[in-house]
């Protein structure tokens, strides 16, 4: 039984592996093209294990942002995990250390799959799913760094846009679920563009301003659809 929950975790991690791998390849390639050394890039993926915030941090590093701008941006992007972890917490029945370990791998996709599991989350199940997801992220990063450069120029450039495609593909189901989300995302994008092109704010701070302004406006001034309001 215990054995099989580990295997279930491994199996349910496979689609996550497949999704992470190309995104991590793009990360490794972009980081290499940006001049980061292999050790730093590997350490980045091994210690952060985060999609959106790693790309955000990388963008900010390459644009020469200051340390505190980068950390503020990363923290804001990651605040959503407070909600996700809070909702998984009651289903975790294991000791402090195992919970601390499980938290490290609680990415968006791991959360999405784990939260669909009806029963409580055995530590072995979490270990299985997180190990496979982690393997995809780290091996993709290494592959992108070492072999991404052999791709022809235009394909390399096109892969550089992978991240934004991933963001768009994550956004679409949210918009399908709740139309208001398109307004919030569009507003954030518009504010960010105005801050960068119009005001000339650095991309670190403009991201922070756009995120907070759009989230505040969306949460308090744009009414949710009735079905959605009931769900929350």
């Amino acid at each position: 039984m215990l054995q099989s929950s580990f295997r279930q975790g491994l199996l349910q991690g496979v689609p996550i592996f497949i999704g992470y791998f190309p995104a991590a390849v793009a990360f490794g390639l972009l980081a290499r093209n940006g001049g980061l050394d292999f050790f730093a890039v590997l350490l980045f993926s091994m210690t952060n294990f985060a999609g959106a915030s790693q790309f955000l941090a990388l963008n900010l590093i390459l644009s020469g942002a200051a340390l505190y701008e980068i950390i503020t941006g990363v923290l804001l992007v990651n605040l959503r995990y407070l909600l996700m972890s809070a909702s998984l917490r009651p289903k975790l029945r294991c000791g402090f250390l195992l919970r601390g370990l499980a938290a490290f791998g609680n990415t968006d996709e791991v959360f999405a799959v784990a939260s669909l599991r009806g029963s409580y989350l055995e530590p072995r199940y979490m270990a299985g799913i997180e190990a496979v997801a982690y393997a995809g992220w780290v091996s993709g990063t290494v592959t992108g760094y070492l072999f991404g450069a052999v791709l022809p120029g235009p394909i390399q450039a096109a892969v550089g846009g992978t991240l934004y495609a991933l963001f768009a593909a994550l956004l679409v189901p949210e918009v399908k679920r709740e139309g208001r989300n398109l307004v919030v995302a569009g507003l954030a994008a518009a504010i960010n563009c105005i801050m960068v092109y119009g005001v000339g704010l650095s991309i670190g701070w403009s991201f922070v301003v756009a995120l907070i302004a759009a989230a505040l406006f969306g949460a308090f001034y744009i009414p949710a659809s009735p079905e959605y309001r009931e769900a929350v």
């Binding site: 730093a40 959503r80 998984l88 601390g100 679409v172 949210e174 994008a189 759009a214």
Partner: protein, 101 residues
């Protein structure tokens, strides 16, 4: 540069781990006050919008249209058939086509 990059990586790791771990370790009210829940629940969507623009235009400085085509293709395919892999591959393909014209 080298020391700085390690500091950034460590700081980002902490800024990622803490939000994931605090609710697991010290407990976080499952019933979060309504206004905070509303704010946190629109945060990811706002983040996605601000992550895409204008960064996607800046990442294709020679031909921003390639970035727009890539995002549009990914959104369209995600809308029609969902998933992440096929939308991402479609975006690479369409950006590649625009870049090679």
């Amino acid at each position: 540069m080298r020391d700085n990059i390690l500091l950034i990586i460590a700081g980002a790791a902490l800024a990622t781990y803490l939000p994931r771990a605090i609710p697991f370790l010290v407990g976080f009210p499952e019933k979060i006050p309504g206004f905070l829940r509303r704010l946190l629940s629109v945060m990811p969507v706002a983040a996605l919008g601000a992550l895409i623009f204008p960064a996607v235009l800046l990442s294709f400085p020679e031909r921003p249209a390639a970035g727009i085509a890539g995002v549009a293709a990914a959104a369209l395919v995600a809308w029609l058939r969902g998933g992440l892999i096929i939308p991402v591959l479609s975006s690479i393909l369409s950006a590649y086509v625009i870049l090679s014209i």
